[in-house]
Assembly symmetry: C2
Homo-oligomer: 267 residues x 2
DNA sequence: CGGGAGGTTGAGCATGTTCAAAGGATGTGG
DNA sequence: CCACATCCTTTGAACATGCTCAACCTCCCG
């Protein structure tokens, strides 16, 4: 079934300019004005070097931003010197949609590679919410997806063994990259060290290493030069007891698309 | 410092009728009309027995609801027969604020005790969002808090040992109960079995048992008849490396309260 | 080339699991 | 009001998964 999905239906012909547009399209098709509005958010750009904090724990939340290129993490440092990676951020991810409601950040956001982001002003955001209901629905969907990913991580950490955790994470990252058009066949760029994987999964780097070796030996994956190929996605998904439902790529419920169509024909 | 907080400042004199009002008040004081509007949501009520599903994984999301009384969990069943408890729901918790954007539930919600909920119609929700900006801000805050709790659980599962995890969970539950006025001194009602604690923390019931015994032996907690007393909150917080910042009980940022005051004086 | 970060290896060890059985508590029906 | 069933807690002992530590290797990149 999965293999069929991958080969049968080629990806929608959405231009690749903006990964956020690409991602939201998975949920809801956007009109031309919607798309223009969304993409004009990314008019300004900022760059960060590799392994640098974009947002620091304890700081006052800054503006919303969209990750355009590169990879980043949300993480927490613990008092014993270890750290926990909470989330991986990939292109198209929106950070902290409504974070102006909070006084301080309870975690940091740091880069893993050089990163390009588009800061979004609060006014820009407000405009989107008031004038572009499809876009705002899609943005809320995206934040629900993020929350679902947090829940899934909890399940992985609580109930899966080391092999299951690693397999799960590789699958999730694959599907997410695919959703923004950043996969080529079964491969995508994954610039993570084994330590970083371990920090995300509650495993030691040594153990991550051994299990990745095992996956390679069994022909499940190929990793070279920061590229990952999932030779057998079904195999990995089986190891992880992975079910991509939680990513909610199935599109918007009919109710909602109907609603928007009525809304738009009434204009 | 913590002890001081607990003893110095007695809790706001908010009537206890509705735990949701109580909780939101921690973030933002509400006007009388705001409060009335919020509490009129709970006009209808539904009851559920103990150990019953309110919402099942795979089902179509039903309406939003507020938990009024009792305790429930979000959880996932895995294919190997185990389950992971993702979140504990206590009175005042709002379920699935914007879940109408999704096609299917990716987890279940089940009761741990008999439970009373107030289903909220979508119109009721919409009314709140359009006519009561303070309430909607507070509801969004509450959903941010939930997300922060998910992140904290990830940190606990990824980086804390069994003692740390259990201590962390007890502290979190204490603070949350306190925020809705359901603590008495250092005690609150906690109708959880050790198996349920284990399912939330990725530990076996046996091990949970041994650690709870250890906590009791060291005079950190007293548990009897489903009541938990945190004899030494500081002690537990130290074991867990717990910092309640992530619960964001500090109130709304000044920017926001200013904004609302301007808004309201302009009327 | 040389330095440094990341990857690989082995061996001993620790934390927490599993399994099985027994001891309370609670609640229900006779 | 007792007897019984059930669920929860407690205990012990063997076991397993994954950690730590320390050393070595390899590939980049300057």
């Amino acid at each position: 079934m999965l293999v069929a999905t991958l080969s049968d239906r080629e990806w929608w012909p959405v231009p690749n300019r903006n990964p956020l547009t690409r991602k939201l399209w998975n949920f809801l098709p956007l009109s031309e004005p919607d798309r223009t509005a969304l993409e004009s958010l990314a008019s300004k750009e900022e760059c960060f070097a590799s392994h640098v904090d974009i947002v620091a724990e304890g700081s006052v939340p800054r503006s919303v931003f969209v990750l355009l290129e590169g990879m980043a993490i949300r993480y927490r440092n613990l008092s014993d010197g270890t750290r926990q990676v909470i989330t991986f951020l990939i292109p198209g991810d929106v950070c902290d949609l409504h974070v102006f409601l909070l006084k301080t950040m309870d975690h940091s956001i740091g880069t893993l590679t050089p990163v390009r982001i588009a800061p979004v002003s609060r006014d820009g955001m407000m405009d989107l919410f008031t004038c572009h209901p499809r876009v705002s629905a899609a943005l809320w969907w995206s934040s629900l997806q993020e929350e679902a990913m947090l829940r899934e991580r909890i399940v992985a950490l609580g109930r899966r063994d080391a092999r299951g955790r690693i397999a799960y994470l590789l699958c999730e990252l694959f599907w997410r990259h695919r959703a923004v058009g950043l996969t080529k066949g079964r491969s995508f760029s994954l610039p993570l060290t084994q330590t970083e994987l371990g920090d995300a999964l509650g495993l030691s780097a040594v153990h991550v290493n051994r299990i990745l070796q095992d996956f390679r030996k069994h022909g499940l994956i190929v990793m070279e030069r920061r590229k990952l190929e999932l030779v057998s996605l079904p195999g990995l998904q089986k190891i992880a007891d992975f079910n991509e439902t939680y990513l909610h790529f199935g599109g918007a419920p009919k109710e909602l698309t109907d609603y928007f169509e009525r809304l738009e024909s009434n204009r």
